[in-house]
């Protein structure tokens, strides 16, 4: 039997950013799963909407706008340090990564606090009726999201300070930012549903 030829892959780089990396695909898997949950929850909201004669039901005021809107703005502005952290990661710029991740975390603290106020301004409890139930779940799902993403970012940021630091951690920084984008962008339709659907539809 003749010896096969060889394909030498030894010179290939030990990792890659963006959609070339495995981490990106894992992150996108999470995005698809959670995006589907959100879409179905919104679907459930409008399904229940058709079951009630008035929406929100009589005697229930729509959620107060201010905290939700403030929080949306905080989330949107947090995309700036997030993008800068992503770019610093892609430059393998440890200092930049540290600075911008810490700033992301500051925003994280802010929007988690604002979220607490959001819950107290929904103007309905979850056990009041189906409207209250779905509104609490619709706000609860992205809250789970921002809390877990905040914690994940926190762990990664601590790692970037106290090490051990390897080059591939910067791919994690990049993917963390990609996920942060998703957390923020997925919030926008839910914000629209919780705060504007009862007013406009």
């Amino acid at each position: 039997m003749s010896e096969p030829r060889t394909l030498d892959v030894g010179a290939l780089p030990p990792g890659a950013f963006g959609s070339r990396s495995l981490m990106w695909w894992g992150t996108m898997g999470m995005v698809l799963i959670e995006g589907t949950v959100f879409a179905l929850a919104i679907g459930a909201y409008f399904f229940l909407h058709t079951r009630l004669p008035s929406w929100p039901p009589d005697g229930v005021a729509p959620p107060d706008l201010h905290w939700g809107t403030i929080n949306t703005l905080i989330l949107l502005v947090s995309l700036i340090p997030n993008e800068l952290a992503k770019r610093a990661g892609e430059r393998i710029d440890l200092r930049g990564v540290r600075v911008w991740m810490v700033l992301c975390l500051v925003f994280g603290v802010a929007f988690n606090i604002a979220r607490v106020y959001e819950f107290s301004h929904l103007n309905v409890m979850w056990d009041h009726d189906a409207y209250g139930s779905i509104v609490w779940v619709l706000l609860g799902l992205p809250t789970t999201h921002i809390v877990t993403d905040f914690l994940a970012t926190l762990v990664l940021a601590v790692l970037m300070f106290i090490g051990p630091i390897e080059e591939r951690r910067f791919v994690d920084v990049e993917e963390n930012s990609v996920y942060w984008y998703f957390v923020v962008l997925a919030w926008l339709p839910i914000y629209g549903v919780i705060y504007w659907a009862p007013r406009l539809i």
């Binding site: 003749s2 010896e3 096969p4 030829r5 060889t6 394909l7 030498d8 892959v9 030894g10 010179a11 290939l12 780089p13 030990p14 990792g15 890659a16 950013f17 963006g18 070339r20 990396s21 495995l22 695909w25 894992g26 898997g29 999470m30 799963i33 959670e34 589907t36 949950v37 179905l40 929850a41 459930a44 399904f47 229940l48 079951r51 009630l52 039901p57 892609e90 430059r91 393998i92 979850w126 056990d127 009041h128 009726d129 189906a130 409207y131 209250g132 139930s133 779905i134 779940v137 914690l151 762990v155 790692l159 090490g163 051990p164 630091i165 390897e166 080059e167 591939r168 910067f170 791919v171």
Partner: protein, 653 residues
């Protein structure tokens, strides 16, 4: 890059490579395994164990129904048994066993050293195992779910199901969905990023395509049932009103969410089955798959259509007629891609040289049974007939014909087909014929009479019936059939255990197949391929020229894996994969505590999240600074390219 070069693998290199990829021994080492072959094996064995348990429950039901006014079990236990049977077969057997085959074989069939995210696969296994144990311990404690495998409210609401039984069902769902979502993400990433160079999209084996398509379906379908079961638990635990009509909720919301998952679930089970059929038929027809492109497109279109016909489970709920017509049309349309596949299989056999070994017997059985089940499926798509036989044994007959025909027959074929690859031993051909005979005859004897019983009006889920109604004979026949099936399964199990020690030793490629898993030894080495392959055709072992390049340059001292491009599988970069780890198990234990705790108090979610968080940090935290694969800090010259830099040329294969 390619060239007639001396292979640099010296013997000590290979020894080190195998040491690098080997997993720790002993029981505590066993808890650390992350190797996809090890996890895949235990996934298969565990799922088969649940198949035996679910089968025993079925046998108890059949004994109870074997004659009128029977008293083997009472109505309360009967309710728990049929619910646990359905739940086991769907969530603990059919889906996991197909994914288990994916875990074991997809990396081998695409020529990869590992599955993507191996620790997540280990985590998935533990979640699956703990979920199953949780269900069966509950059943033994007389807390088995008793509300049917689709757990309809209002029956499943706290008012009518005040005990914890319905919560057990709802949390079992969470366990198994977490497990199968993790597998889906891993498999998709494996297939898109870890294929052997040269395995372009149009050379991916049909079984691997089936696994990818199924994984995408899992991503979109499972969230629906997770959302639904969470809402159910919330209704029961903290008084939300999703399904409570009195407070503006609607039980139909449950049905929509459940069947938005539940119908695709059928295809999540059947599509891997059809991938198995394509694989086995190709091998035993000794020719390439006829109509490869048509078959792959049929799988993809089945997946899309599978999401568009859930309402046919709800025809009896009085939905608008226009909606019903739409879903009737969709339900009939999905027969088209399945028909295309069947014709392609027939054409493959017709134009090939068919060798009838045991795996092929199961394929022939599959044809007979699955086509019969498909025909009753088309019947059920029609609203008038559907309404007439709704909730009767006709539906029971139909669903067993499609699911056992479409999944279990291909699966047994796959057991016979791949057993030698997994264990290095062959199963007995002679016993195999007996197993098949018992199962095939027993199956038809069990389920064919159910068509007649259903048309005659016998409802599902009744624990007995009066003698005067005249259903005794057919029911007795069905019970005898189950005993015959059980004989087949017991024979198979004995043979599978026996062959481990005394089976005929298998060669690397006992069936003369063409896909990559047969290109390595039986069982495969720790590193899957001592020399990772490249690919020049759809059936590489048939199509590759003798001097087809093998891959060199991957490190032997770390778990170095080659990552390739999505479309054309050109080499892109290397990634160092993780070693064995205890953290997936610890994380799974913490998650299990959270899930079970949450049945009793909502605070379980809050407090239970703390150990989960700690475990995940332990999982994520790097063990030691890496010395080699990636640059240790400080980085003297960067090795990672920027995202928008051109990827390095992979070289033509």
């Amino acid at each position: 890059m390619t060239g007639p070069r001396e292979l640099p693998h010296a013997a000590e290199d290979l020894a080190m490579l195998e040491l690098t990829w080997s997993e720790p021994g002993g029981f505590s080492g066993w808890l650390h395994h992350v190797d996809h072959k090890s996890i895949g094996r235990r996934y298969l064995v565990t799922a088969f164990g649940f198949f035996l348990l679910g089968g025993m429950l079925a046998a108890v039901m059949r004994l109870q129904l074997s004659r009128p006014d029977n008293t083997v079990v009472g109505p309360d236990l009967y309710n728990q048994i049929f619910t646990t049977h359905g739940t086991t077969m769907m969530f603990l057997f059919a889906v996991p066993v197909m994914q288990a085959l994916g875990i074991y074989f997809v990396p081998l069939m695409v020529g990869a050293r590992s599955i993507a995210f191996p620790r997540m696969i280990a985590f998935s296994y533990w979640m699956f195992l703990f979920g199953g144990i949780f269900l069966y311990v509950s059943l033994l404690l007389n807390a088995g779910p008793d509300i049917g495998w689709f757990s309809y409210p209002p029956l499943a609401e706290a008012l009518y199901a005040p005990s914890k039984r319905a919560d057990v069902w709802a949390q079992l769902i969470t366990f198994t969905e977490v497990a199968s979502l993790a597998v889906a993400v891993s498999l998709i990433t494996t297939v898109f990023k870890l294929r052997a160079p040269g395995m372009t999209l149009n050379r991916i084996p049909v079984f691997v395509w089936a696994q990818v398509v199924t994984s995408f379906m899992v991503l979109f379908a499972m969230p629906a049932v997770m959302l639904a079961s969470t809402a159910l638990i919330l209704d029961r635990l903290v008084n939300t009103h999703f399904f409570d009509v009195e407070h503006g909720g609607d039980a139909l919301l449950w049905q929509h969410l459940f069947w938005f998952f539940g119908h695709p679930e059928v295809y999540i089970i059947f599509i891997p089955g059809s991938g198995l059929v394509s694989t086995i038929i190709t091998t035993f027809s000794r020719r390439h798959m006829f109509g490869y492109l048509a078959v792959v497109l049929a799988l993809v279109s089945t997946a899309f259509m599978g999401f568009g016909l859930w309402v046919h489970h709800m025809f009896a709920t009085g939905l608008p007629q226009l909606g019903e017509s739409f879903f009737t049309a969709a339900s009939m349309m999905i027969a088209i891609p399945t028909g295309i596949q069947i014709f392609c299989w027939i054409a493959t056999m017709w134009s090939g040289r068919v060798v009838v070994k045991t795996p092929m017997l199961w394929m022939l059985g599959f044809f007979a049974i699955f086509v019969a089940g498909g025909l009753t499926g088309v019947m059920l798509a029609a609203v008038p007939l559907n309404t007439q036989v709704h909730d009767t044994f006709f539906v029971v007959a139909h669903l067993h014909y499609v699911l056992i025909g479409g999944a279990v027959f291909p699966l047994f074929g796959a057991f016979y087909y791949w057993y030698p690859k997994i264990t290095g031993r062959l199963l007995s051909e002679r016993l195999g014929a007996w197993v098949f005979g018992c199962f095939f005859v027993g199956f038809n004897l069990t389920f064919f009479p159910m068509h007649l019983l259903g048309l005659d009006g016998m409802p599902r889920r009744v624990y007995t019936y009066p003698a005067a109604i005249g259903w005794g004979t057919l029911n007795l026949a069905a019970t005898i059939g189950v005993l015959l099936m059980a004989c087949g399964v017991v024979l198979f199990t004995i043979d599978a255990v026996r062959a481990l020690r005394v089976g005929v030793t298998a060669t690397d490629n006992p069936w003369g197949a063409g896909t990559l898993e047969w290109g390595t030894s039986s069982p495969p080495p720790h590193s899957n391929f001592l020399r990772p392959p490249t690919v020049a055709g759809r059936e590489p072992l048939w199509d590759n020229p003798p001097d087809q390049p093998v891959i060199v340059g991957l490190r032997a001292d770390v778990r170095d894996v080659l990552v390739t491009h999505v479309l054309d599988a050109e080499p892109d970069h290397r990634v160092e994969f993780p070693d064995s780890s205890i953290w997936p198990l610890i994380t799974a234990i913490a998650t299990t505590v959270l899930f079970i705790w949450s049945i009793f108090t909502p605070w379980g979610v809050v407090y239970g999240a703390v150990p989960v968080f700690v475990a995940m940090v332990g999982w994520f935290w790097p063990k030691i600074a890496d010395e080699g694969g990636t640059q240790p800090w400080p980085i003297r010259h960067r090795t990672l390219q920027r995202p928008r830099e051109a990827p390095s040329p992979g070289g033509a294969i």
